[in-house]
């Protein structure tokens, strides 16, 4: 193997959005960068947490009514809406079909590839607190639950993108 002593570049992506198409954008960038030897971290906050929930569907979770309603209405990775022209959840299904037909990686494949490439998945402690999401509600591959100072410290020499 050709020796390479160059320090690996770092990429941090803040996944604020829980939209289907924006999740695809985040994971496409992340897997592409990781395949090119970059150290990639995905930081999930707010709506972005829906992408890494263990339960892919809807569930009434939380200690009070508003939280239970929010969690039910948002749902998990199988319920992500398209940011435009969602048509009550019909469009993501059509888009998935279209992507398969055109040999473009689906979100499921991208997430599996991200895990295989060793991309760090991290979750925002504050957003989890608001939405009553516990560590055990997230997929096992989530490496850590952290706050802003830790994220900023870990990303200080990284290219950082915010996907809203």
């Amino acid at each position: 193997m050709a020796e390479k002593v160059k320090k690996r570049d770092k990429l941090s992506i803040i996944c604020f959005s829980g939209d289907f198409d924006k999740a695809i954008a985040a994971f496409t960038l992340a897997t592409g960068a990781a395949a090119s030897n970059k150290e990639v971290s995905l930081f999930f906050t707010f709506w972005g947490l829906n992408i890494i929930r263990k339960n892919p569907g809807r569930a009434f979770k939380g200690t009070d009514l508003p939280t239970r309603m929010f969690n039910f209405l948002m749902g998990g990775v199988k319920r992500l809406p398209l940011s435009r022209l969602n048509f009550c959840g019909l469009s993501p299904k059509l888009m998935n079909k279209l992507m398969r037909k055109k040999n473009v990686a689906t979100l499921d494949e991208l997430i599996e590839s991200a895990k295989a490439l060793g991309i760090r998945l991290i979750a925002c402690e504050m957003a989890m607190h608001i939405l009553d999401i516990k560590r055990e509600d997230l997929i096992a591959e989530v490496e850590d639950v952290i706050g802003v100072p830790t994220f900023l410290d870990q990303s200080k020499d990284a290219m950082t993108l915010f996907i809203s």
Partner: protein, 72 residues
């Protein structure tokens, strides 16, 4: 050992993601031949493999496709 991978049914980023994941399973000195469509993968796969520290031995035209030979 020589291995072969066909990514002509894949698009960005899976062309080089699949290549990278395959390369990771090989032993140093192994050769991976990757068959790709013309256009973007001919540029992105060698670039991504070199970034990851692998050596591009050659890029050969195969009809309207290309064969990228990579050494681990």
């Amino acid at each position: 050992m020589k291995y072969h991978l066909d990514v002509t049914d894949k698009t960005c980023p899976m062309t080089y993601v699949k290549t990278r994941l395959k390369l990771d399973t090989l032993e140093p000195g192994d050769i991976l031949e990757v068959l790709v469509n013309q256009g973007e993968p001919v540029k992105s796969i060698p670039q991504s493999a070199e970034e990851a520290g692998y050596k591009i031995v050659e890029v050969l035209p195969r009809g309207d496709k290309f064969l990228i030979v990579i050494e681990k």
